[in-house]
Amino acid sequence: MIRTVTIPLQESASDMAREEIVKQVAHLSNSLRNPRISADGSKFEFDVPEEEAEDTKHHAQHLCALIQRSLRNLKRKVVYRTRALSRPLIRGTTAPGEGIFMAGRGQVMLEGMPLQLFRYFDTALAGLEKHWTTQELLTPTLIPADVLAKCDYFRSFPNTVTFACHLEPEASVINRFRARHEKRTTLDREALADMATPEACLSPAVCYHVYHRNQGLTLPPEGIAYSVRGKCFRYESSNMRELTRLWDFTMRELVFLGTSESVLEERERCVQIIGQFLDDLGLAAEIRTASDPFYIAPDASSKTYFQLTAETKYELSALLPDKERLAIGSLNYHTDFFGRAFDITVEGAGPAHSSCIGFGLERFVCAFLAQHGNDPSNWPDAVRTALVEESLEALD
């Protein structure tokens, strides 16, 4: 039996608090559904199985108080608004259409036109990197657990980690596992006990590899820029749906390591270059301050507060149907956190500072189709032309 839980909020929830509460509550329970905040912002409601209701309510109350406390009366700062945002036109949906096949929770296969769009965005975003002299880095999908620990991931985002498991490499364990699964189509309850402690995880971001690669190095005074693209994995619990929030997705990143001044300067350049790109795509979007969804821990609210007030994170927020929004990328400044964690220094300037500009390729496809629809005749010329040329090349 499903029960609707209602939580009165301490004060009317601001726009930011609304978004954060709905986004973060998903991590309280896998069976929590339909989180919503009343139009006047005075109460938060969700649906959950009766037996979980009291426990989830208790945690949700704590979460709401924490988020409202950390966001205080902060307002988002918008650093770029696209032209289309002043008169947004939503022609499509976020529902998976032709060429988008959901293979499992948070897992997608693309073919046909959505795949062409995916390739277009990958190429076009890589093209934006011509403004810098970048070094390419081919990265593994796995990331050593100790590298992720250095990135503070197990403290800040333990809820989203995907561990790479394998059986204990012992014949007795493997034989037992094999015998138990001879006729099963799913893993049994004992399977987890057969696994070795994971030494690696599936990487949640590609920029972490860059810091690992530069561990212990001294960089030239002018710093260094990397171009990276790879698969990323974030377990988003009941938030996972359609192309908007995948477990397994593709990220393209531009990573800068250098002095504080240089990496911040590059990030500001990126705001203008990416803003222009969003305008060329005719997307209704804005680049605005944002925070990461830190796991509910004692210092989470303080981290959120710091990110928003110090403007260390901007997100590319695109409009979706029903006034929803989707972050299709972000521009992050990490201060010298990774420089210190990985002992990376800049010649004559101390620990390296870093910034990274990340794009979620499947989310670009999603936002584009949601706004422009499936009919290419409604698309911007640049995209349509590029896709026609690609089709012709494929025929040659």
Partner: protein, 75 residues
Amino acid sequence: MERVIQLISQIGGIGSVTPDAGIYEAGFSSVRVLELLLALEDEFRVSIPDQDFMAARTPREIFGLVERLQEPKPA
């Protein structure tokens, strides 16, 4: 001023800082700023604007901000 320095040291888990030392340079972690802000608001019964707080980098600047906010406003 003494109490401001005490709060910075306690919350930041750092030794005593001088009035004109940058608190972040002295080791105060940025992830503790909200804690410090809320403690100052409780202690001095003021409401501190976020951007003003982030701009104050030393105990003296923080104390000055709190003092200004405590001054009675003209009717």
